[in-house]
């Protein structure tokens, strides 16, 4: 993994996980799959980092966990957003959008405007 990828991922992993869970209760593997398919391989997330993020968010009170049964009838740990988690998602999304918009403005600005 190159450092360029790392920088991108560190800041956005939390918001991606929160976004995944906003679709409903899911286990860690489902979250991983969501991120992998959503990004279409543009960036790589290590699954280990993903689990660390999940547990850390549980410590922070953003998600709750519960043991349940997967689609294939196997015991799996499911995660669910708490209301604090939903609030965090909103805040992180806003920050992310502002960031994207700012980057976009810079990228599309004409030379004329700069002079």
């Amino acid at each position: 993994m190159t450092s360029r990828e790392l920088d991108l991922l560190q800041g956005t992993l939390d918001v991606l996980v929160l976004r995944a869970l906003s679709w409903g209760t899911m286990h860690g593997y489902a979250v991983a799959r969501f991120i992998r398919s959503g990004s279409d391989g543009t960036f790589k997330v290590l699954d280990g980092a993903l689990y660390t993020a999940l547990h850390r968010m549980e410590e922070r009170g953003w998600v709750e966990s519960e043991w349940g049964t997967s689609e294939k009838k196997k015991r799996a740990k499911f995660y669910r957003l708490t209301s604090a988690g939903r609030r965090a998602l909103r805040a992180e999304t806003d920050t992310w959008n502002d960031y994207v918009a700012a980057v976009a403005r810079v990228m599309t600005a004409t030379l004329e405007a700069a002079t």
Binding site: R33, L46, A49, T52, R75
Partner: protein
């Protein structure tokens, strides 16, 4: 651990699912596994960090659960206390009493024994210097030194310890006039502040140059409290302000930091350079810095890091023994270093302080008695709550949880009691200070964080103790089985516990009461001692001036004595006499040379008092042989002297001293003939052997005697108060600008009797409280026993027992338990008697009569307490009793 298993399971599920998916996409199993591993990253590192996070989560959850359970229990406890307000209030008051007494005692003992002086830097390095001196009644450690001793020790220890010297603060007049306020003033060397590590909050402290022994620099440093009290805490104007202390104008140069009030129990308001405080050349033969008679200076040192303490003490001893240092007879003196906290020794405690330490023990005993009563009350309540507890146990609550709930209940009770106790402690602490050490002006109020923490800790301990015993009982399995059987069974072990409580209360009450009776009898004994004065019927009066005037002062004695006829006409006055100095006010001594050489080899120096001819008959000192002075002041008479018995025995053993000769001041002085022998009266303390004494005539002293006349008036005890006022008015009219000073012999003697007075009062108070609490305990226990056995009594009455038989039986059973307690208490008092022995007067701590008196008192109270329930038992209705079955 299940948390670790959970993490392993979660990760296993992840890998299984991923591999399964990749295999479904057409990979081989091995390829899929390798891919999944690559996608995951470092599995072990991840597992470690997940474990870390999860254990943090688990810890937090546990804490929250415990707290939640506690909160639930506290809420439950509060509700159940609220349901039985009468019992709760009784328990709270009982505990508040026990805790309050302890808070008050702790506040006093903490200041005396535990806490180093506030505001001093690194007090552990400080040492108070003592010297072992030989007094007439043996050797004793003494904290006072003269200046030459201090200088010698300071020079000897230079480089290894820094020494300071200062005087104990004394109350001196601020400004002029009869109503002028007093300030607590102390002389202190210039090094005082720097060695103690104190920095001025305003201005500066005085320098070594300003503290030279030969010159007087009129500067003063004031305390923060004084600055706020006298100058309203005005920072702009305090430096440079003038204050007048004892007619001396001084300039304030600095303010000590807040909180610092010196190193003695009494707070210091004003510090002065040594000579500024003591005068450049006092009216003494030698100035203060060369005078071995001015030897009350305190010496404190700060040890340098690593200084060999015991070696330094030896060197200090050597310095004190050097020739020309201190008193000539101090050759055997031993220097010792003690804590900066003076009460920690090595000097002996003042009697009042010693009484205070015993009262600390008494306070704990009162608390134990209170706890016993609380246990009793909680037991009684537990009986009423048997159903509720049984239901809870049946519903599956753990025994540990039940015990915890019940203990929380009693801790809650004792915490509520703490609130009352701290209020009581604040008030009681202030009262104890006034009672035990009225001379000490403490810097801080009795209540502070330490007292608060102590009370809280004690309350929790007491609450847990008082709650645990009934809680263990309630949660015991026998109880539940007993419930099924009905209320009459399963009672016996419960009443055993109650009986044990009664034995404990009775025994402790006996101990306190024995203490009380011992002190009451000591006080009686000490007041019976003939000290040579009619203590209850004497008043003294004299005058002081704010300013000096040598011509006026020289004539003062004669002018005061000329008032005799007018003083005699004051209503109530039976006799008027005069003395140079009232008893216990101070001492005067003189060199003397008798016509025999029985005192040769010793420094011929003796104490004397100048008196009017009728002095002995006025104060009540018996004339044993010979006659008193000639009453005619006008006639010129040959010099005469009267001696007391102690002097007669010392100088002229086995001979009649009358007609013998004494030369005062020098062997060549004219002969003063001994004309009378009087009873040896009190010198300084009732506890010591009186010092031999001469009496000389005020009108015709055989040498230049101290003759500031004081008036002695004899009057009936009930007239003394009014009489002091009349005398003061007369003196004010006669001497304009003078300040009359009056007192009574009882007031003079009060500090002498104080230790026994205090022991008698406080032991009686605590003993009385203990007795009351124990009486209530006996009453409720016997009542309870009777209520449990109504059936039995009914049956017995039905079978023909007479009421008096039942009464006698119940009374007998109750008193038997109390008797066990009384015997236990007497044994305990006997064993602990030596703790009081040194504080008693004329009575042994194991005095059998005292023990008998207390046994009778306690059995009497117990009989009264048991009588009502016993009478009720004797009236048991046989029909009603039989019907309940």
């Amino acid at each position: 651990m299940s948390a670790h298993r959970d993490i392993d399971a979660e990760l296993r599920f992840h890998f299984e699912a991923r591999i399964e998916e990749l295999v479904a996409q057409g990979m081989s199993h091995d390829e899929a596994r390798a891919r999944a591993n690559a996608e995951f990253g470092d599995v072990d590192a991840t597992r470690r960090s997940l474990r870390e996070i999860d254990s943090r989560i688990a810890r937090r959850r546990n804490r929250a659960e415990v707290l939640d359970g506690m909160l639930q229990d506290v809420r439950y406890a509060a509700r159940s206390l609220w349901r039985t307000p009468a019992v709760s209030i009784t328990i709270i008051l009982t505990l508040a009493l026990g805790l309050g007494v302890n808070a008050a005692m702790f506040s006093l003992l903490d200041v005396i024994f535990l806490r180093p002086p506030a505001g001093v830097v690194r007090p552990a390095e400080l040492r108070r210097v003592w010297s072992e001196r030989t007094f007439r009644d043996g050797t004793r450690f003494w904290p006072g030194f003269d200046f030459s001793q201090f200088s010698a020790v300071a020079r000897q220890l230079e480089g290894q310890a820094d020494l300071i010297v200062y005087g104990v603060p004394s109350q001196r007049k601020l400004g002029h006039g009869e109503t002028a306020p007093k300030a607590s003033v102390a002389a202190a060397s210039a090094t005082y502040f720097s060695v103690l590590g104190v920095k001025p909050q305003l201005g500066r402290f005085y320098t070594t140059d300003e503290d030279r022994v030969e010159t007087l620099t009129p500067v003063a440093v004031v305390s923060d409290a004084f600055w706020k009290r006298e100058f309203g805490g005005d920072a702009a104007t305090v430096i440079g302000r003038q204050i007048t202390i004892d007619d001396q104008r001084l300039t304030v140069i600095g303010v000590a930091p807040a909180g610092f009030s010196g190193t003695e129990l009494t707070a210091t308001d004003v510090w002065l350079p040594m000579t500024t405080s003591l005068g450049p050349r006092a009216s003494l033969r030698k100035p203060w810095w060369q005078n071995p008679n001015i030897n009350g200076f305190q010496v404190v040192l700060r040890l340098h890091p690593g200084a060999p303490e015991s070696e330094l003490a030896q060197r200090a001893t050597a310095a004190l023994r050097r020739k020309g240092i201190g008193w000539a007879q101090d050759t055997a003196t031993v220097a010792a270093f003690g804590s900066i906290i003076a009460a920690r020794g090595p000097g002996t405690l003042k009697a009042e302080t010693a009484v205070a330490t015993r009262l600390g023990g008494v306070a704990l005993i009162v608390l134990v008695i209170a706890c016993a009563n609380v246990i009793n009350l909680l037991l009684a309540r537990a009986v009423k709550r048997r159903k509720e507890i049984a239901v809870r146990l049946a519903l599956g609550i753990s025994r540990a949880r039940l015990i915890r709930m019940l203990v929380i209940e009693s801790v809650l009770l004792s915490l509520l009691a703490t609130v009352a106790a701290i209020l009581a402690g604040q008030w009681g602490g202030a009262l104890l200070r006034v009672l035990l050490m009225p001379e000490v002006r403490f810097a801080a109020s009795p209540l502070d964080g330490r007292v608060f923490a102590f009370s809280l800790a004690l309350a929790i301990a007491a609450g847990a103790l008082a709650g645990l015993v009934p809680a263990l009982q309630s949660a015991s399995p026998e109880l539940t089985s007993a419930l099924k059987a009905g209320s009459r069974d399963g009672v016996s072990h419960r009443s055993r516990l109650r009986n044990a409580l009664i034995v404990c209360q009775a025994a402790l009450s006996v101990m306190l009461l024995i203490g009380a009776v011992l002190f009451v009898r000591s006080l009686h004994n000490v007041k019976q001692v003939d000290i040579g004065y009619a203590v209850d019927r004497l008043a003294f009066a004299t005058i002081r001036f704010d300013t000096r005037d040598s011509a006026r002062d020289a004539a003062l004695g004669a002018r005061i004595r000329a008032l005799a006829p007018r003083l005699a006409s004051i209503p109530g006055v039976q006799a008027v006499g005069f003395t140079g100095m009232r008893p216990k006010f101070g001492i005067s001594w003189t060199d003397f040379f008798p016509d025999v050489d029985t005192v040769a080899g010793k420094k011929p120096s003796g104490f004397y008092t100048a008196v009017s001819p009728n002095y002995f008959s006025v104060v009540g000192t018996r004339l044993i042989r010979g006659r008193t002075f000639d009453p005619d002041p006008m006639r010129s008479l040959p010099p005469t002297v009267i001696v007391d018995q102690a002097m007669a025995e010392r100088v002229w053993p086995n001979t009649d001293p009358i007609g013998h000769c004494v030369h005062f001041d020098s062997p060549n002085a004219p002969c003063a003939t001994v004309i009378g022998v009087v009873q040896t009266n009190l010198f300084q303390s009732v506890n010591e052997k009186p010092e031999p004494r001469f009496y000389v005539s005020l009108d015709h002293p055989p040498f230049k005697a101290h003759d500031e006349s004081e008036i002695v008036l004899r009057a009936p005890a009930d007239r003394l108060v009014a009489l002091q006022k009349s005398v003061a008015e007369l003196l004010r009219a006669e001497f304009p600008g003078a300040i009359p000073i009056t007192t009574t012999m009882s007031a003079v003697m009060e500090p002498e009797y104080r230790p026994w007075q205090l022991g008698a009062t406080l032991f009686s108070l605590f003993g009385g409280l203990a007795l009351l609490v124990a009486g209530i305990g006996i009453f409720s226990t016997v009542s309870y026993a009777v209520s449990q056995r109504t059936h039995e009594f009914g049956v017995r009455v039905a079978l023909g027992a007479r009421a008096s038989d039942v009464l006698g039986q119940v009374l007998g059973e109750g008193l038997r338990v109390v008797a066990v307690g009384v015997v236990t208490g007497i044994i305990m008092a006997y064993l602990s008697g030596r703790l009081l022995a040194s504080l008693l007067y004329g009575i042994a701590p194991t005095d059998p009569l005292t023990m008998l008196i207390v046994a009778v008192i306690l059995m009497g109270i117990a009989a009264i307490a048991a009588l009502l329930p016993a009478w009720r038992a004797s009236r048991a209705d046989p029909v009603a009793a039989l019907r309940t079955d």
